[in-house]
Assembly symmetry: C2
Amino acid sequence: MATKHILIVPGDGIGQEVTAVGKKVLDAIAAKFGHTFTYDETLIGHVAIEATGVPLPDESLEKMKKSDAVLFGAVGHPKYDNDPSAKVRPEQGLLKMRKELGLYANLRPIKLFDELLGASSIKPEILKGADILFFRELTGDIYFGEKGRKNNGDTAYDIAEYSRYEVERIARKAFDAARTRGKKLCSVDKANVIETSRLWREVVQKVALEYPDIEVEHQFVDAAAMLLIKDPRRFDVVVTANLFGDILTDEASQIAGSMGMLASASIGDGTGVYEPIHGSAHDITGKGVANPLASVLSAALLLDISFGLKAESELVISAVDKVLKAGFRTRDIADAATPADKILGTEAMGAAVLKYL
Amino acid sequence: MATKHILIVPGDGIGQEVTAVGKKVLDAIAAKFGHTFTYDETLIGHVAIEATGVPLPDESLEKMKKSDAVLFGAVGHPKYDNDPSAKVRPEQGLLKMRKELGLYANLRPIKLFDELLGASSIKPEILKGADILFFRELTGDIYFGEKGRKNNGDTAYDIAEYSRYEVERIARKAFDAARTRGKKLCSVDKANVIETSRLWREVVQKVALEYPDIEVEHQFVDAAAMLLIKDPRRFDVVVTANLFGDILTDEASQIAGSMGMLASASIGDGTGVYEPIHGSAHDITGKGVANPLASVLSAALLLDISFGLKAESELVISAVDKVLKAGFRTRDIADAATPADKILGTEAMGAAVLKYL
Ligand SMILES: CC(C)[C@H](C(=O)O)[C@@H](O)C(=O)O
Ligand SMILES: CC(C)[C@H](C(=O)O)[C@@H](O)C(=O)O
């Protein structure tokens, strides 16, 4: 029987609606298995800026550090997107959180629930059986290097940077995971052009020597972006830098039918953070139609990775599977064949998952 | 009746085989329309390193500058890919050529020939009618900024840089093209995180004011990578930075069924360069199976853009269309339904195109 303190960080847009469902699932698991989960909630992103002037208040960060795990929503607001000169931005809160918590490894499992085989733009025969685990580096690269303007603002620059130990630690995590899976690892870089990628490849080649049982390949990011669609089944574990990981995992979401189904775990030195890979989606915020399953599956990852509660985690995943098998869909994963009464809103989808728990 | 001097730059791997076919097509067009095309050939990439020690000899560059257009193959060699410490690399030749010729705009039309609707991993009903024209910036970004090592080689860095005028000139080209097409433009960046993207968005927003008839949207690169697969028909003209363009256009090749079908035009201040978007493909080099159609379609772009020979260009495209309609395929675009005697090698496919010219 575990006693754990979970921090809910809904953030912006649909973050609020989907983490509410994720939390209910955690609650139900605690009740069912006799665990004691306590909760707190805190601000980040646009809502934090509105309330305090900064995207990640010290208080939020302190609470994160003190909790056993964080269930995270999303950050972002169109207001800033369309104003390139904004100095304070919701995303800075997310990036600061990743840096301050040392969340250097972002795990993004791309796995298709059989029932959603038809929901993807990609042909079912290409997809069937695809199962990829991405390791995206999360605290380095062009995201965190110095950036700014010169020549009176007429020239902008961003510095991408990687150090050997940063590549090493994420490579090890990826190789370790490959050992428990299909024993294949693909490292993605752009070593034919950029220096950080050459360091990346050098280090991955070196770490690979410790894992002679793992079949390793290196792909350039452009080729990888193509191969993910052409033949997703050729991939098992993929490890890549922050920016490439951002792009490739969003692209790979189409393998799983919808971004609304994909969860991620950010882990590192301390508290782990669990969040959907979808964003704040202001176009559907407040309408009660957001797909909460990515948050539910984030809760499953949280139970497994941060708490070591494997059976509990699997129960959550199988509840999602059953809901889909029963034909229930949110709008984003419905198709022409879905009867209207099976298309559920956010809360109803949450209730359906709870029913199968 | 035009008199033009064309430089053939096969480069590495299958570059040799496919440009040979492209040249034959240019020859046939000259004969048919009474133009006088003269040719020369020169080295770049791995073959240039082997012959002269450098990836772009001065003589090659001089010849490029003096010619009316360049028909280009590909550069690259696995030898360097697997050796991150190599100081001299084939790709440096390509990058230097782009910089020295001022080829700041890389046009990559993604258009599906109807006959290849089945060859893609993406469902035909998602693809049908997709027609995207990418403008990839080609002489800036992380490709050309300072790069190197510090901390005894333990830290690598790359500087991404963009100046206002660089974004402006490619944006104008893209907006102009949108005017002749679907009147929609999507600019892709990562303005929520990087400064070069914020400058990019700022400038595109400004240029947009001069084009009130064009519908403009801005997408983050991660979202764009996802939307390209989810709903390719929503795009008309896409304009983006060098690195994002590299990734997204390779990804988008899957919309056209195969990389082997995609041509590109690099244009700027002087001589235009026309090349397939596929690479040197050493795994199939010398086997006579490479798809030459991307080189043939590059020749079509050359006729149109550098020489203003629209009718000639369209004849080439329609010949490719007829070859496909007649059921001929190279291996990469064949499927289970293609009869063995319709699967052609590089030369035979070239001969088939010539027959329909
Ligand atoms: C919101 C944005 C800063 C973030 C990123 O680019 O990392 C998001 O796209 C993600 O993938 O978590
Ligand atoms: C070979 C490589 C340097 C090049 C690039 O990244 O620009 C290629 O991928 C391309 O797209 O032309």
